[in-house]
Symmetry: C2
Subunit: 454 residues, 2 copies
């Protein structure tokens, strides 16, 4: 280990190399519970591309595993250390290198925080749409590694749609440039999108060219309360089938609504079985909101509250923002991330309710309903071994249900350590083999984030 | 060869196997001029996935190259036969298997014609946006293989944005399923997008899950005439910098305008140096059109003609549709496909004009100006050897200029045979090596579309 640190120090300033056990422990894991984390040998904080290349070259020469990290807000253990590894933290490469309003793009280092980029783009009347819940702290590098989503995806898509090009340091230290600064381009295979969502297993992103969009109008929001999740899901399908494209369409189940009420006294009626929030941010937003309000009433909503202005809209969104904190107060939580075709949302929610009942557990479900992405949150008492076992089983049952309904085990959180066995089930043997071979092309020695994803 | 045909016949109906030399000749090439084409040993027209698997298994066993083909409307020789190959035509796998308005997706076989899908989606109030010029004849499989673009891309993006999942027969006959039917998903590497634009070198697409969008309103179009291309390009930049998102923004240079005038007597003034067409199809289209009309006047447009209705809009678009046919009438043509950052469009057009002058050639340029994608059309007398050599040289100079301006040698037509040497220049040595290794993962024997792209 002395040799490793010595070698790293040859290409890094002293303050960029941390061997203190407390620092190592602090950088050992992301925000996923229930995932193993090893003890890193060293944590490095490079500030230049050359320094990252030096770290990877050293790792290759000494055959030491490297675990790249952003802000460690991930929820699947993808950034957890393995024993004896180099933790490669990119948080100090945090410069916005360029914002170009004519070409509507930004060039950034990986450690730039999502919200910092969003605000900087806003100064040019532009927006960087992907908005994971952790947007105030998560980094663009981490967003790229996980293929992060968010609340806006029903209209604006996910991270993958906004990455035009990347500079990536490969396992052996070579620098690979992919993609382009142009709006279009088909020269060669799309390595850019192969790298997005690869969870640090193919290379280390050191620079990204990102597409920006014109900043939309502030959203107008409506809240609709339903007496059943089936009715709420039918409304979701009807909104999409009728050709609306909301900028947000979120669904909270009865358990979640109750938890939010208990935490913040939002005054949501106790009879509410499902709370649907729908927002529009385009030029026709007022008319669209009115039409969807009417549609919700026809679909059986017991109450429909369309916001009349920005302040009212913010108030309605507040209930959604409190959903996860409110569920977290009820006990230890495991958050799942299963996406199904939106036409299957009702069956997904009914299935999760059955799993909760069968397991004798509280499971609140918050859904990005517009894109069928559900976050069932399993609440349990971690000090109770049997209950913990039931919670883990229900978490697995939820993924099995998602696959059965034609969905995926992860809509936006990634595979990491948490869902490795499930990836094989979802991909099938041919897909798994091809993916393994592609990983070997990039990392023949298997030093990049070993044990994650595949 | 007798053996090859016998083996193919074991898994294909007789009418699906053509050995007639006239058929072979007819399927030898796509629409790219100036690209070599070999003589296929046999042309096959499978109708099922199993038949495609049989063809690939046979090809692997006998080490025979396979050239997949759609409607052969490609412009880079990517579908050209090589000597002794199996031409694998997918045109008889042309069923739309499903259109699902709630999940806004279509499931199609590769031989479905783009326009057929667009019309079928239209019956549900939905649209499949990518609209290459050949949309009335090109197939979805070909669109996926080349990563096709079109006129709508400035607002709606390219084929890659609309492919959710693929079934692909690999070189050895195995069936690989990639992607999903859900709006989101990050399980494993994004093989779907790796396959889009891979020009038949990684596998044969036999089924695609495509995202659809709500059908937009018919576009409202304005035409603006400028006294210089610089002024027109400045207007393009201003439109984008001011946050407009037109559904189409096309620019024709003086040479093209003249050619169109000569062909169709459109009555465009002879002094026009650049004709800009801008369209909007969203709820605020009339206001946006008026604002852009004003912007064009301020930017120095000599005349601005905003359409007042759909019929007038159609008339204005007619000039654009006639551009390539009009240039084709002037002689033999080579169409280039260089995309640059839109802020570099003026320099690109000025550079092409210089190349035309220096080469003593007519080069008309039609641009998807909104996304910086130019189509310089080099016109020459193919019976004149010296002029042909000058044309070929100017075609290359145009690509060099594009790269110099931070662009790509192909925005939407692909590499094929035409731009192979240029791909290496654009990717650089690291990128090229990684791409080659990925190709080997999918096709270790090198039987899939050999000699194309890399």
């Amino acid at each position: 280990m002395g040799d490793l640190v010595d070698r790293l120090m040859q290409g890094l300033p002293p303050e960029a190399v941390a061997v203190d056990p407390d620092v190592a422990a602090a950088y050992a894991r992301d925000m996923a519970g229930f995932c193993a984390a090893g003890v890193p040998a060293v944590v490095v904080f490079p500030q230049t591309v050359e320094q990252v290349q030096h770290v990877l070259r050293t790792a290759t020469e000494l055959r030491v595993p490297v675990v790249p990290q952003g802000a460690r807000t991930g929820l699947s253990g993808g950034a957890n250390a393995v024993d004896g590894c180099i933790v490669l933290s990119l948080v100090k490469m945090d410069r916005i290198l360029e914002i170009d309003p004519v070409n509507r793009l930004a060039v950034v280092e990986p450690g730039v925080v999502n919200a910092v980029l969003s605000r900087a783009a806003g100064e040019y009347g532009l927006a960087y749409p992907p908005d994971p819940s952790s947007w105030e702290s998560c980094t663009i590098g981490g967003n790229i590694a996980t293929g992060a989503g968010g609340l806006c995806c029903v209209k604006y898509g996910v991270t993958s749609e906004y990455v035009l090009g990347l500079d990536v340091v490969l396992a052996d230290g070579r620098l690979l440039s992919t993609g382009r600064r142009t709006a279009k381009g088909v020269a060669g295979y799309d390595l850019t999108r192969l790298l997005v969502g690869s969870e640090g297993t193919l290379g280390v992103v050191v620079r990204a060219v990102l597409a920006l969009r014109p900043e939309p109008a502030p959203p107008l929001v409506l809240a609709a309360e339903f007496g059943s999740t089936d009715a709420a899901c039918a409304a979701v399908c009807e909104v999409m089938a009728r050709g609306f494209t909301p900028s947000l369409m979120e669904l909270m189940d009865a358990t979640t609504v109750r938890a939010v009420n208990e935490m913040a006294a939002m005054g949501l009626p106790a009879t509410t079985k499902a709370l649907l929030l729908v927002a529009f941010d385009g030029p026709g937003q007022a008319a669209e909101l009115a039409a969807v309000a009417e549609l919700c009433r026809t679909a059986g909503a017991t109450e429909v509250v369309p916001a009349e202005d920005r302040a009212e809209s913010e108030l309605l969104l507040q209930a959604r923002r409190l959903a996860l904190p409110a569920l977290d107060r009820l006990g230890t939580t495991m958050i799942d991330d299963v996406a199904v075709p939106r036409s299957q949302l009702a069956r997904m929610l009914a299935g999760v309710a059955q799993i909760a009942e069968r397991s004798d557990l509280t499971i609140g479900v918050v859904s990005h309903a517009g894109d069928g992405n559900t976050h069932p949150v399993v609440v349990f008492d971690a000090s109770d071994e049997q209950e913990t076992a039931r919670a883990e089983r229900s978490f697995e049952e939820i993924m099995a249900l998602g696959l059965e309904l034609g969905g995926t085990v992860t809509g936006e959180h990634g595979i990491g350590l948490l869902k490795r066995e499930w990836l094989a089930r979802e991909l099938g043997p041919v897909g798994l083999e091809v993916q393994r071979q592609i990983r070997s092309v990039f990392d023949p020695l298997g030093i990049l984030n070993p044990g994650k994803t595949l």
